[in-house]
Subunit: 382 residues, 2 copies
């Protein structure tokens, strides 16, 4: 059955195994199902800022939001943009708008940018943003956006010291995270979990009979933390594949997330997998986090870069719990975090990382890879 692309799901009749949908003109229709997969995703968080509805203010989340933003950029050629939020999307937007020639100001309410990594690495991201000409204001909470007398927008915020911060700007992007769009499932009686996301088992089955769900609308199983809310593209792909297979009679299980993430910030990259120190404490571990540095490849071969690493392991068992990396975009940061993610997946100890037979050639590595050097620094600190 083919439905119009603007068709929306209105209600699930769990008993009758039917879904009520409405087309673009409001015309309703009942569709029977044997198995139903919900993939309603997430909605952008709306922070308590006055003026979010103004023309020139964009809450970025869907494809439609992006098309609208591109239209604004093309039709109005704004010269300046203010980005509220300095998470993954906020950082990517800062780079993208800067590459288009806009003057960019980034405001983040928390004390440091990229709060999903430790502030020691966040501060390196911060420095890279400033090196690239971005104005970065951390500890700064936006309170209101108003249409300015001279055209454009006027953003009023409270800075780190409590003082007022104002900026006149052509365009505002608000990217401060998302929350699960679980309304359809909730109204049908589905059990919700962390952050109001739809609760699912490892086979992506909701509490409703014959209804599965996947992606940014569901609770994600984390291998070290259990039920979490972790809306990520990689996770959504895996869960969708499993929900699809199981809707057709399969019994595949979602193996779980480790919260592995990477972001490029201009010429640098930052990545993490597993748990940070405070997350490990909260999960009942006795963690030790050790910071170290190593070359991405032998320094005598041209083009080497230092990698800053923070490795977290459990003192009691020696188990590897997490890794955070910061380094040049050419320093294979993304795939190095993936080696650690694979190691954590298998419950390796930090010490055993030195046993891994990793590749080496002077232009691309070291006989002990940076990761193994970090592991040895950790073991030495223990």
């Amino acid at each position: 059955m083919t439905l119009h692309r603007d068709t929306v799901a209105r209600r699930i009749d769990v008993e009758a195994h039917r879904l009520l949908v409405a087309g673009p003109e409001g015309n309703e229709q009942l569709i029977g199902y044997d198995k139903l997969v919900i993939g309603t995703g997430a909605l952008p968080a709306r922070p308590p800022i006055e003026g979010l509805e103004l023309d020139g203010v964009h809450l970025l989340h869907s494809m439609g939001d992006t098309f609208e933003l591109v239209r604004t950029l093309e039709e109005r050629s704004p010269g300046s943009a203010l980005i509220v939020g300095a998470g993954y999307i906020g950082l990517e937007m800062a780079e993208a708008l800067s590459a288009r020639g806009l003057s960019v100001t980034q405001m983040e309410q928390l004390p440091e940018v990229l709060p999903t990594v430790d502030h020691e690495l966040g501060s390196l991201v911060h420095a890279e943003l400033e090196r690239q000409g971005i104005e970065v204001l951390t500890g700064t909470a936006v309170e209101s956006i108003r249409r300015s007398d001279i055209g454009g927008l006027r953003v009023e915020a409270v800075g780190a010291t409590g003082s007022a911060v104002t900026r006149s700007i052509d365009m505002v992007l608000v990217v401060v995270g998302v929350h699960p769009d679980s309304e359809l499932a909730a109204e049908a009686g589905a059990t919700l979990g962390a952050r109001g996301a739809i609760a699912v088992d490892r086979q992506m089955r909701t509490s409703l009979p014959d209804v599965l769900a996947a992606g940014d609308c569901v609770v994600t199983h984390h291998r070290l933390l259990g039920a979490s809310y972790l809306p990520l593209g990689t996770t959504a792909h895996k869960q969708g594949r499993i929900a699809g297979e199981n809707a057709l009679g399969g019994t595949r299980e979602f193996a779980g997330s480790l919260g592995t993430q990477v972001v490029k910030i201009f010429d640098q990259a930052a990545a993490r997998t597993g748990l940070r120190d405070h997350e490990a404490v909260a999960a009942g571990f006795d963690p030790l986090t050790v910071e170290s540095e190593a070359d991405d490849h032998k320094a005598y071969y041209p083009g080497s870069h230092r990698i800053r690493m923070r490795i977290t392991g459990d003192r009691a068992t020696g188990r590897l719990l997490g890794l955070q990396l910061f380094g040049h975009r050419d320093a294979e940061i993304a795939k190095r975090i993936d080696v650690a993610a694979t190691a954590i997946f298998h419950g390796m100890t930090v010490d055993a990382l030195s046993d891994l037979d990793l590749s080496y050639t002077p232009p691309l590595g070291s006989p002990w890879d940076a990761l193994q050097q970090a592991a040895q620094a950790w073991a030495g600190s223990l």
Copy 2:
């Protein structure tokens, strides 16, 4: 105790726990030991080529050989070089000499360059060499090197079709592999193994009491093949660390090699880990090898590269046995092979690679990493 740097070990007196050494002037000395670690390394293979002793012909292996080569390059400014062998070192030398402005010819006796990967990938390395101006002659066996009448050297070889191939050249490098330098240990009665290397257990102990050995002179434990001869820098570092720890009373075990290797060839890189199809057959597996291609990162983001992948798994158990990669030097080939090496280390199935929580951001990856796409292609072929 500090010995002169040119001191050589002459004989081990196992009973008396003493080592006879000779200084640079031949002055002998007996040194007592509690534990002895042998790290005599390997010696370059001398192929049956006439004229290897000629001035201008270099057998490349030790630091000393390299210094001598650099002296030749600096003092004589040769305009052309012929490299016998197209393994890792031969390829690296082709690039290095080409970067110095020499005209380079590479001769390889086997049908394709880089014979440690399948010829499908070797042929891509071959094409990159030619694209960079290297003359590549495969299936070509060098028979003799003579001093030419007009100065320089004359190399005579037999080409792939049996026809004579001659080249007039300023300099010849011979890099056709190594064999273990196990003479000292053998004379003391140590058991030898594969390729005449010193047999050691997982704790790097030889058959001689209180004598350990590590590196290119020993038999290496391969996690899938058992005892092998695999002289690699990464392995030597690991074994040396273990031998050192155990000489001081430790009981650490060498976890084993997977033959993980990577080489950069100008703008490209080739890597492998684990077993290739024929190696898997020889080891008693029922392998399936599937070739596929994927982008290193989302193609809509500038600068993406295709990665050519050959994945080998066991039909009966689904177990991942090996991976070979070829792609651009910026495509994180080295660390992608390391993810596979970590997966093989833990006995993962090919199918389970899709369960790994790997990192994603459009400039650096895909929601399913190239490796996972290769795994899915393999599962589809099965």
